[in-house]
């Protein structure tokens, strides 16, 4: 096994991992602020892929640009979904019953989106044909896919943008306050319900953008979400529930582990490494890489 092959696997893992990271940030934000696990997150990603595809094939918009253009409309879509559906199962009554209702609601939403897309667009897979999807930068014997490189850079930039927003703007701080202590935040004049809508909108927008970036090199079909939602969950838990930097790190780690697993295991077990790493972290560091131990009630 030449060292260059190891480097090849590491590079590939990180490039893919950045996309997982961006998806996971959206999910982590929603969970962190709302305590809602959004099972439909993967399907919003799938919709992001399709919109990017239609922008590319119908209007000649480069998918990398398309992935950014879809952020505002998906943000509005996320806020709308929150306003119409999620407010009914958050912020009132028994938390356990609410959690059950949230699970059922988001799972139902996932089914509706997937099946509606199959009916309207047909299950036939599509792919965006771009020159850079099948080209690579070369660094000695190591090949670095151009599409994934661009997607990596944009994922990192978007993640930095979110981080900046959360830590350097009043609105971002209000979001975090609503996450830390909803009751106290309400007393300080922060509308927790509005913050929930904002978080859901941003979370959906991020995963749609990740879908757009993914579409530069990954085929698109209505059921593509199931391949990624599990990885998102693992990344979020790995990084520590509710931690944005943790989710990003978790995503990178998953991409890396998934790629490196194939050095020692056959291809059929490509995701075994991911779950082994997941179990190890849960066992050794149950709060996740960057999570905090929850305060005792």
């Amino acid at each position: 096994m030449p060292a260059s092959e190891l480097v090849q696997y590491v590079v590939t893992g990180l490039l893919v991992g950045a996309i997982y990271a961006l998806m996971s940030i959206g999910l982590a934000l929603i969970f962190g602020v709302m305590r809602v696990v959004n099972f439909a997150q993967g399907d919003f990603m799938m919709l992001g892929m399709y919109v990017t595809y239609f922008l590319a094939t119908g209007y000649g918009v480069d998918p990398l640009a398309g992935a950014l253009l879809i952020v505002p409309p998906f943000f509005l879509l996320g806020m709308l979904v929150h306003r119409v559906l999620l407010v009914r199962v958050t912020g009132r009554g028994d938390p356990q019953r609410e959690m059950d209702a949230q699970l059922i609601l988001t799972l139902g939403l996932s089914l509706v989106i997937t099946n509606a897309t199959s009916m309207i667009l047909s299950p036939t897979p599509r792919a965006i044909q771009t020159a850079y999807a099948t080209r690579a930068f070369t660094a000695g014997p190591v090949l670095i896919n151009q599409a994934r490189s661009y997607a990596f850079v944009m994922a990192v930039l978007l993640a930095l943008l979110v981080w900046t927003f959360l830590t350097r703007t009043d609105l971002g701080k209000a979001l975090r306050a609503a996450a830390d202590d909803p009751e106290a935040a309400e007393y300080q004049g922060i509308s927790v319900r509005t913050m929930h809508g904002l978080a859901f909108g941003i979370g959906v927008a991020l995963v749609a953008a990740a879908g757009g970036l993914l579409a530069t090199y990954h085929p698109i079909e209505p059921t593509v979400a199931v391949n990624f939602i599990v990885l998102m969950f693992v990344a979020v838990v790995l990084g520590g529930l509710g931690s944005i930097p943790g989710a990003f790190l978790g995503g990178l780690l998953i991409g890396l582990v998934q790629s490196l697993t194939l050095l020692v295991l056959p291809l059929q077990l490509q995701n075994v490494g991911v779950f082994v790493a997941f179990l190890l972290v849960l066992y050794l560091r149950p709060q996740g890489l960057l999570g905090r131990r929850l305060r005792a009630v």
Partner: protein
């Protein structure tokens, strides 16, 4: 008194109308009795569910043949009897396929049947046809279809057990013609039944017999998360050929994209019609699919360009694949059998099929241009052919005497 009068009048009216209807019926009967007999063919294929596309293509082929036959006078030995298609939806399970066959064969007199596409469906449907003594024609590959001692089953494709060996021989002859020595091979694909059926004989016996070393053997459960490790292994091992069967299109796209990116150029040999569909080139893109080959039981051959053009014009499809071609041929075979039998009786047609030995005409549009079935119901001389994508369309490239195009061969690494 008034009521009585009205009642009596109504009764008379009813009687009058009744008599009129009876007379009308009598008038119609003689005309109906003079109509020519019809030869009904059953088509049991998936028309809904996940394989609906395949079923629709078969229906298109059958309908085209029927239209052509009826337009030139129908079945002459039966006074110009017209052929009528009776389709039934096999759906997406064996149970539905069997139910469909029972319904269509039980409802009216069917002279012959075509279908059911998937081998597992065909195994079930032919049980029904055998019991009801209706000759049944299929393109399904499974050996077991014609290993049960059935008299009414006719398998027109080369059987699965022979296809991998035939494909390998044909491929090696292509390689030799291009001065390529095949010493190392890669097997790349998923673990679905279609792929296993192709890979297993190659892996276990055929490659070894030819002295070919298997240097890459990458199998995954769909979906493939990332094509990189697969292609990285190919890049390192440098095989002379890749046997490829990624039946989930997204997985195919990933592997082919990655191969282009990594600059890995070598012959790619697949198996099955899934790799030759219009949807395949739409999804994968004609640049990526260029040069990819697939072995199948049938595909339009040299000299059949007019047939393909008629099909395209009639259906709007960009090209013709084995599903439509086989159904087209099956209808013509049934027509020739009916001419020989001088009857629409399914048993008489079955006996006529047993006597058929056609070497010309539309029914023989399959390699090697002969229609004859042995005592098991297998077509004599049926052999696998190789089809290759060129310019966004699949063309037969081997055997050479039937090739529509010369094969594209990847330049030396």
């Amino acid at each position: 008194m008034i009521v009585l009068r009205n009642g009596r009048g109504t009764l008379l009216s009813v009687v009058a109308v009744g008599l009129a209807l009876v007379l009308a019926g009598l008038a119609l009967s003689p005309a109906a009795a003079l109509a020519a007999e019809e030869l009904k063919i059953a088509l049991v294929v998936p028309l809904s569910g996940r394989w609906a596309r395949q079923g629709q293509l078969k229906k298109m082929g059958a309908e085209m043949a029927i239209e052509e036959i009826n337009a030139q006078g129908g079945i002459r030995a039966l006074g110009g009897a017209r052929i009528v298609l009776r389709e039934a939806d096999a759906g997406d399970t064996v149970e539905k396929a069997v139910s469909a066959a029972q319904r269509v064969l039980g409802r009216e007199k069917i002279s012959a049947g075509i279908g059911a596409w998937l081998s597992s469906f065909t195994l079930g449907v032919t049980e029904v046809a055998e019991r009801l003594q209706v000759p049944w024609f299929t393109l399904s590959y499974a050996d077991s279809i014609t290993e049960r001692g059935f008299k009414y089953t006719f398998q027109t494709s080369p059987v699965g057990g022979l296809q991998a060996a035939q494909a390998l021989d044909l491929f090696l002859s292509l390689a030799k013609a291009h001065r390529t020595e095949v010493k190392k091979a890669a097997i790349v694909g998923d673990n679905t039944a279609a792929s296993v059926f192709f890979f297993k004989p190659l892996r276990e016996k055929l490659l070894r017999e030819k002295g070919i070393e298997l240097v890459v053997d990458e199998i995954w459960t769909p979906p493939l998360a990332d094509g990189t490790p697969v292609v990285q292994k190919i890049r390192s091992a440098q095989p002379d050929v890749m046997f490829f069967s990624a039946t989930a299109l997204p997985d195919s796209i990933q592997v082919l994209q990655k191969m282009k990116e990594f600059g890995v150029r070598l012959p790619i040999m697949g198996n099955g019609v899934w790799l030759l569909m219009p949807e395949t080139v739409q999804a994968v893109g004609k640049d990526l699919i260029e040069g990819v080959m697939s072995s199948v039981g049938a595909h339009p051959l040299k000299g059949q360009e007019p047939l393909v053009e008629r099909f395209k014009k009639r259906t709007g499809e960009p090209f013709m694949v084995q599903d439509s071609l086989m159904a087209y041929v099956h209808v013509w075979i049934i027509k020739e059998a009916a001419e020989l039998a001088k009857s629409t009786d399914p048993r008489a047609i079955r006996d006529a099929v047993g006597r058929l030995d056609l070497t010309s005409g539309p029914a023989t549009a399959l390699v090697p241009g002969r229609i004859r079935y042995d005592e098991r119901g297998r077509r004599v001389g049926a052999t696998t052919i190789i089809v290759q994508w060129q310019g966004g369309e699949p063309f037969t490239v081997a055997p050479a005497e039937f090739a529509m195009r010369k094969p594209l061969w990847p330049s030396a690494r």
